[in-house]
């Protein structure tokens, strides 16, 4: 599942690297494959998020000598594989079983298994498994976003979820949730048995800062596929700051980039800043008043002072609050001559629960 609940702009610097083998030694492309793999099921494997599957392949030894398969394992992530028999005579055929758990990330992907053999000409063969991950629930991208909460404030978020895999959706119990959240399952407002309303209410304030968590509910779908709903909130004590975190995106080498952080005070009174530490000589911050109970920090990032990029935590301390505000800030410095592509805001497709503030009002 897409797990970037922040409004971050992603930037990718594109360059062409020739001859890179992704850190794993593989033989030159001129070495012919000694093993041929054939899937015994339709590919790509179409699965649901988090499904665990056993996939079967036939393997044929096309070399002119016997080959023993020593080990089969995925290049990245979890999973395992086994071959039967372990040794294949020239021209003979065996079976390979792969056991893997598919990711939460939706869409098309591929996992490569490395097949280690005793073949001196090609000790590592590659078995690629293409897959397509679907969501069993709608909306596919969902989030309880409680926004900014300060001490003593409570909020409720309501999200309607549905499925078309069973005639009636049942969310039978809460498998996991944060301690500071109550979760209730209610009938859908539409009256459809395939939909349910999930209501999440904060009961206390979690530790100050960005809080990422998750609600996991047991469902009556095949294989007890769970419903996972990410939870996001920004907890503050007396002051709030936005945006949190802050991404400056791609900055051309030699250029400055400007941005702004807004600090607001809950309740009446002035913003009493004691100090601002940017954590990097490449980042400057100037304070500008934006009205009663509001101060803007005007930021300037000097890319000449951070050639590789910026990854810092800006700290704002207050005279009347022992709790400082901490803001992660990042930037990517794009070298001259490298093409960069702004991928935009990946957050816009996420369906958020309808959130209402409970007492006390902000």
């Amino acid at each position: 599942m897409f797990r970037n609940p922040f409004n971050m702009n992603f930037c990718v610097a594109v360059s062409v690297l020739v001859g890179m083998t992704m850190g794993v030694p593989v033989h030159a492309a001129s070495s012919p494959a000694a093993l041929e793999f054939t899937a015994e099921q339709e590919m790509p494997a179409e699965v649901y998020q988090g499904d665990r599957e056993r996939l079967h392949f036939t393997v044929r030894n096309v070399a002119d000598h016997s080959i023993t398969i020593d080990r089969i394992f995925p290049r990245k992530g979890g999973g395992s594989g086994s071959a039967t028999p372990g040794t294949l005579a020239p021209g003979s055929v065996g079976k390979i079983e792969l056991d893997l758990t598919f990711p939460e990330a939706l869409g098309a992907g591929q996992v490569n298994f490395l097949v280690k053999t005793n073949n001196p000409d090609k000790p590592t063969e590659m078995l690629g498994v293409s897959y397509f991950v679907q969501s069993a629930f709608s909306p596919e991208l969902r989030l309880f976003d409680f926004g900014n909460l300060h001490t003593g404030q409570r909020a409720r978020s309501t999200l309607e979820v549905s499925t078309r895999l069973v005639p009636e959706l049942k969310l039978e119990k809460v498998i996991s949730k944060p301690d500071w959240l109550d979760v209730e399952i209610k009938p859908s407002a539409s009256g459809s048995g395939q939909s349910k309303r999930v209501v999440a209410t904060t009961t206390s304030l979690p530790p100050v800062g960005i809080v990422n968590s998750e609600v996991v509910l047991k469902s009556n779908l095949d294989r007890d596929r769970p419903l996972r709903i990410p939870v996001l909130l920004r907890a503050f004590s007396k002051y709030a700051i936005a945006p949190l975190p802050l991404s400056l995106g791609g900055v051309d080498e030699g250029m400055d980039k400007h941005s702004k952080l807004r600090i607001t005070r809950f309740g009446k009174g002035d913003v009493l800043i004691d100090s601002v530490e940017t954590g990097s000589p490449a980042l400057r911050a100037e304070r500008v008043s934006c009205g009663s109970g509001c101060v803007d920090l005007m930021l300037t990032f000097d890319s000449m002072k951070a050639r590789g990029g910026l990854r810092t935590v800006l700290k704002v301390s207050f005279k009347d609050d022992t709790q400082p505000l901490l803001v992660p800030i990042d930037a990517l410095v794009v070298p001259i001559g490298v093409k960069s592509i702004e991928l935009g805001d990946l957050d816009t497709l996420t369906v958020r629960g309808k959130t209402e503030m409970l007492e006390p009002s902000p």
């Binding site: 179409e46 679907q134 078309r164 895999l165 459809s192 395939q194 497709l349």
Partner: protein, 130 residues
């Protein structure tokens, strides 16, 4: 992600491949036809069926109906999609003597789906007797 897909038309017709042996009459198996344009970013299609217009709609095809892939380019030019992509799906799991409602979702390569049509009604169709 591009969602430029446009439904030109969707129809639920019948083929001469099924019968209700118990009552001695033959009904056509439901067949869905649809046409799309500009399928950039589309992975495929999921078909849903219900006995009522209000649902519940349940998924029919276990495997996603794959979208037509652009032909690979030989000369290095951008791959081109055909002007129209025509699809046909025979719902062999349906009872041909019953009335059904069908709807179709398109699924993007990023795994997000979007409903293409309002449910369409398909009446049972008698096959001509021999």
């Amino acid at each position: 992600m591009k969602w430029l897909l446009v439904m030109a038309w969707l129809a639920a017709l019948g083929t001469a491949s099924a019968k209700d042996a118990d009552v001695g009459i033959r009904h056509a198996t439901p067949v869905l036809h649809w046409t799309s344009k500009d399928e950039k970013g589309v992975y495929g299609y999921i078909i849903y069926r219900s006995a009522s217009a209000d649902g519940p709609f349940l998924r029919v095809n276990k495997r996603i109906v794959p979208a037509v892939r652009p032909k690979p380019s030989v000369s290095g030019e951008a791959a081109k999609l055909p002007a129209d992509s025509r699809y046909e799906y025979e719902d062999s799991s349906a009872n041909p003597a019953k009335t059904y409602y069908y709807s179709i979702d398109a699924v993007s390569r990023t795994g997000l789906s979007k409903q293409l049509t309002r449910p369409i009604r398909r009446e049972p169709r008698l096959l001509p007797s021999n």
